[in-house]
Amino acid sequence: MKLKLDKNKTVLEFTIGIISMLLVSTILIQVKSVDEYKKSDIENLREDEVKTQISMYKDKYEEAEEQYKNNQNKISEYQNTQNENQKASSLIDEELKQSEALIGLTDMKGEGVIITLNNTKDNQYTSENIRDLINELKYGGAEAISINGNRIINLMDIVTINNTFIVMDGGRTRLDSPYEVKAIGDRKYLTSTLNMKNSGFVDLMKSSNLEIQVKESDNVTINKYNGTLKNDYMKEVK
């Protein structure tokens, strides 16, 4: 009887021990799990909170996407205009270069002729002779002309001062014999213009006892105009 009672008591105590073990382990597991979920942000939230968060993020995402698209459109627009601007500016650059080349502000090279004029004891070159030569060259299709390395531009003067000096470019440069005149253009045409029988420049000079040599060249280099171009009086007509 006593033994049975003891057995019953042991079972009872054992059951209580198992139950306490179950309880403690379950509580620990729960605490562990909750702790872990608190670390991760979204999973820690309740369902409705998660829902609101998701819808919020969705809205934000849509907004951001829209903005992104807008920005991309803007960027492509900007790029287009930039390209256009670049085209325009490169066109303008080209035009500028061409204009500078035409008015003589850039160094030039190409086929042409080199004419050397020398005074002789009997006669001297006058400014008129040189003007004639330049005129002839222009007539012969010269695109760029220089005398003793001085570029001839459109508004260029060559005059005699005090019946002694030949000056050009408003008196800025004095010219002396030998005069080396370079011209870029169709060399055949230029030489034939100069060498015309009787009325050509070469014959005329030779008949006046002046020395002249005309030499064709593949590679004539003409420097740019060194002075400054200015317009104080003229204004564009609009």
Partner: protein, 126 residues
């Protein structure tokens, strides 16, 4: 002797609790309500022991059935979109406080008796 078993059980519980991996978040709701139910049963058991009406069958069945029932109710509540687990928690916690009150009163009375006895002893001595 009972205290020894409880201590061993608690220690084993701690070991198992650390060994067993964490459970997914969706299940932790059920486990929480089960824990509350189990705690209610434990306090109920202590209170009934004080009242000398403790029955191991009632205690064990209450421990497991209450926990499982609470979990089932929570599951049903989630399916019906009603927070039934709130009702379960209110009932369990309410009962827990009741039982705690019984336990507290018992020990208070015990203390008072002890103090009274000591005073009596002192009076006798004098």
């Amino acid at each position: 002797m009972t205290i020894l078993f409880i201590t061993i059980g608690c220690l084993l519980g701690v070991i198992f609790g650390f060994l067993i991996p964490t459970i997914p978040y969706s299940v932790s709701n059920y486990l929480a309500i089960a824990i509350v139910a189990a705690l209610d049963s434990v306090f109920g058991g202590i209170a009934s022991n004080i009242n000398k009406i403790f029955d191991i069958k009632v205690f064990v069945s209450g421990f497991f059935v209450n926990a499982i029932l609470a979990m089932l109710l929570t599951f049903l509540g989630q399916k019906l979109n009603v927070d039934i687990y709130l009702a379960a928690i209110i009932v369990f916690i309410g009962r827990m406080f009741n039982n705690l009150g019984i336990i507290r009163r018992y020990y208070l009375e015990k203390l008072e008796k002890k103090a009274g006895n000591e005073i009596k002893k002192k009076v006798k001595k004098i």
